[in-house]
Symmetry: D3
Subunit: 235 residues, 6 copies
């Protein structure tokens, strides 16, 4: 069975990464996976949150937003009218947590890396694309900081990528686009490392509970998908 855009069930969409997209950021990439485009920019600030003050340790945090017309139907700007949506909070917490899992915060030293993920265009998988793009921008920022002598050693301990998987019409699919995501019975996101370990798993029944065997097939797709993504972005 072929998918609407002709992909195999375990095929990741085309990926392009434009490094150094912005002039000012310590690291930035325009990450495109299919029609999902995320601009990721890293800012290094010489201070840490109160709970880390005087600890010597650094911090990594993220913000996520969608441009109003990234989607087929315009979404209002968050924080202008009405509060920031729960979904946004979830995603930006996920991005920050994922990055912190592969960075040695003590080796980073007393800096905060603030990662902005702004979705220019959305076609499913914006949260996983944001994690992958954010990791690439962070690695570029670390290179800048090393060059500038603001840090002494590379604190990044592993590579990282994220991918979605889901069950659509009873079939497990990798890297869902928007139409597939909207039709999925089960929706899962995996953040995995280059060394094959887990950083985050989230799997959710969209309509009815699902079987452990289904979960296993999604996990297998995700392991494969992350390997593919890491291979592509490495070049």
């Amino acid at each position: 069975m072929r998918r609407p855009d002709g992909r195999a069930h375990d095929e990741v969409r085309p990926i392009t990464v434009q490094h150094g997209y912005l002039a000012h950021a310590e690291g930035s990439v325009l990450y495109r996976q299919g029609q999902t485009w995320v601009l990721c920019a890293v800012t290094a600030e010489a201070e840490v949150p109160p709970f880390l003050r005087d600890s010597g340790s650094g911090w990594i945090t993220a913000e996520y937003a969608m441009l109003p017309r990234s989607t087929a139907v315009r979404v209002p700007r968050e924080g202008r009218a009405g509060a920031v949506r729960g979904r946004t909070h979830e995603i930006q917490r996920l991005i920050g947590r994922s990055l912190r899992a592969v960075v040695d915060l003590e080796a980073l030293g007393p800096l905060t890396l603030r990662v902005d993920c702004d979705v220019l265009q959305a076609d499913g998988g914006t949260r996983t694309a944001s994690v992958t793009g954010a990791f690439l921008a962070l690695r570029d920022a670390v290179a800048t900081l090393l060059e500038q002598g603001r840090i002494d050693e590379d604190p990044v301990r592993d590579t990282l990528a994220a991918v979605s998987a889901g069950i659509v019409d009873g079939t497990a699919l990798l890297d869902l686009d928007y139409a597939e995501d909207a039709a999925a019975e089960v929706d899962a996101n995996f953040v995995l490392t280059g060394s094959g370990r887990l950083v985050e798993v989230q799997a959710t029944a969209e309509a009815a509970p699902f079987e452990w065997a289904e979960f296993e097939s999604l996990a297998a797709l995700a392991r494969f998908g992350v390997e593919v993504i890491l291979a592509r972005v490495a070049s």
Copy 2:
């Protein structure tokens, strides 16, 4: 190895459920699991959100809050000074999604069931206790609605409970209390049905990435834990 409170690694804390705690709510329980106490109250409203209008289908949504002094250090009331925290958004979305997975919303008909989970005291696992307590209060509310003739058939399709599991000092533990949760290397929450299926899985590396084998051991503990919880609350 015994845990600080003497529990075995796969032992759930004592559970008490006080049904009909509140006079006015369609269903309410004071759910206590160890020193974590959640007051869950269900309100049935004769309207549905705009996206379901004229669909015949009902809706279930949840709100979650901690009383300021539920914790060892007082937490400010959300929404008074500063915005509602991302963690709160995550938890109340999780509760709503979990309940909807075991309820036939068309059989519910054009009602919204609004579930309030207020944590009177917190000692770890407030989100999973909220899911379990919310399900029990919802079942009581459904009984009330059937009695009152506001619904014709029981729309609840399965039983539901949630439990946490985590890796502490290299050991997989079930149903973490606050001290264990704060020390955990991996933190996972599982929402499962009485029929043994999955509603939601969330597993997170708190410090460093973890192995798939570790995830499997947490999943096994959770399957066992949910069976224990469902057996206890059934009586």
Copy 3:
């Protein structure tokens, strides 16, 4: 004339006080007067507001909230959608002012006692029940602070309780429940001390102006009611 629940016109509803309800708070009580239940918790913080800094004096402040389903019709959580209601501001200011009137803030020393009054269930008189419950929790907190050596002397100078009174169908009644309160022509709240003095009086015409003689009869009921309440909670 007997009231709907069989009480005499000058009869206070049954009161139960559960001291030490919460594990963490310096002092806490679950105060129940009829079907009005308020959970009062006191937190001692080692700092004072800016206007008292370096004065040696302490401070007492309060917050008040109703759980959404404390009432027959669910009330939205304040501060989530929409601002905190004026009624809430009034009540929490009243609680703080009342407590400060019987505590020697200089003897308290540079601490802030923060009192949270959360209404679990509401059946009229939540503001007066909150004052009475808050005073009891505060006294427990003071005992804890004395034991812990955080204060040297007991700064509480008098006992305190509050009660409502009102005119319903031309009759002066003590301690109105919700139905009586909704029907009252005059509504009054009195905060009085064990020594028979006044801390706060508020009397309001709900529909039409009233006579000074009516006010006098409400004041007499309140003096009697506060004596009854203080006698009951003393044991």
Copy 4:
């Protein structure tokens, strides 16, 4: 004993009322009592709040604000930075309640009278001056509405004025200015009618509880003061 400005203990400050101060409002007065100046403006809107819809009854509501430099030390504009203060909520609720007590809302018909009380200059007693000024502006607005044929009969059933009283250095004083108010041991506000009845009483211990006899002396001063004020503004 003479007061700082030479007044007797039971003497009301000079009052001037400028009717029709604003060109557009249905009724408006600039009310000055000593150095406390309040601009009161009434707007009649052809709609009522949801709870009165289709009842035939009208409504009266009020808003209160202080201009930033009405006071010796500038106060920030409410609602710009930070929320509206509890004191403001209290005062505007008091004004609305007081006016409603002397107006027959059914005779008013399905209109909302919205009263804005803006304090141009503050020297104590702004809440009582607002009540008195609001009543005068409301009466002017009613005259306009009668002229315009928007209402058929005068719904005002009694005259109304408010005054403060307090105990300063053990002496009961009428109509406190700011310095006296700041030094008062007991602070009370009375809203009374021309027919000698009560609309609202609020008495508060500022430091220590007070005696019933003290309350009585404040009440006597207030009864006298309201008579004086009503006589002055009648001309």
Copy 5:
């Protein structure tokens, strides 16, 4: 052609300035230009914004608001329900910028002059009346500060006034009232100095683009109008 109120096309409305209107402010004027009345009050605070700290330089900032019933149709209080309007931001930024252009901030020294412009009544031209009134109040405040020895030299380098001009029915008019402003095809505001220089020009096509010649005629009117205003307020 005569205007509705009989003015010539280049005639400024009658102006009255009441200096020292408020007891407490360092400088205050009630500025009336026709039926547009603005109360301007200046507060001197012994601190400067963060970006000027330790620079020795002072700062001038402004806030602008309309009283709810300054207008024919009541406008809601900003910041109570809904955010502060963009128009308000624009106007208060304009006032602050204009004043700073004629004051030597280094000569002012490390003070912030905070100017509050509150529109008591509005009949067109509230922003230009606010600039003119604010300048007059600022000059009075400077006189007070010199007297009090809080500043050593007069930092005001030039006089300042503002005026509106517009094209209505093809005719260029000076100092538009509300009805003229609402009908204008082009709307312009000029802030000019006594020495004939420019501080701010804003010209806007209300419906269709306009010619440079039209702009020139508005500029000529404004130069004349500011001279007239400065002559009148000087006395």
Copy 6:
């Protein structure tokens, strides 16, 4: 005298326009003028604001935002922490007003065109680049709407572009970059039409008042600059 980037005093920075940048928007361009990049997207909605309901007329409105890391120092996301800045309000009002001046809103019919201008990178002149980019995206959207039959005739009556000019070190310069803008003594923005008429002029003294002759020289530069820009984007 050459400018830092080698431009002549009357030279506009290089411009590139990427039409149809986004898949979903009715019209969108990525507009780049030097290192200032603005993504402009137009959404057509089949409704109009309340004040135009049943008028047959359409509406055009705009929102403006800067991505956090568009600038050398990261700017916080507006509306997340703290309110939307006054500068943002000013700019988005300017964009909307400018577009409405060259569109026949009655010919547009009962649609709202909502224009989002998101600054991906900022190097001075973001407001004028936003106006120019917004106009180009709007023209593309109109073409789409004509193709889709949602409008019958082209409502655009003229072409439009905006440009900044300023006086730096006594020299009038066209199209300031960020460094020039920060150093400018006078800062002006012009929105002009292809037919040579004015839509908006704003000129501001940044430090000291300026001469009318200086204003004239800026206006002359702007007239030339807009011609250049319109010629470049036409191709």
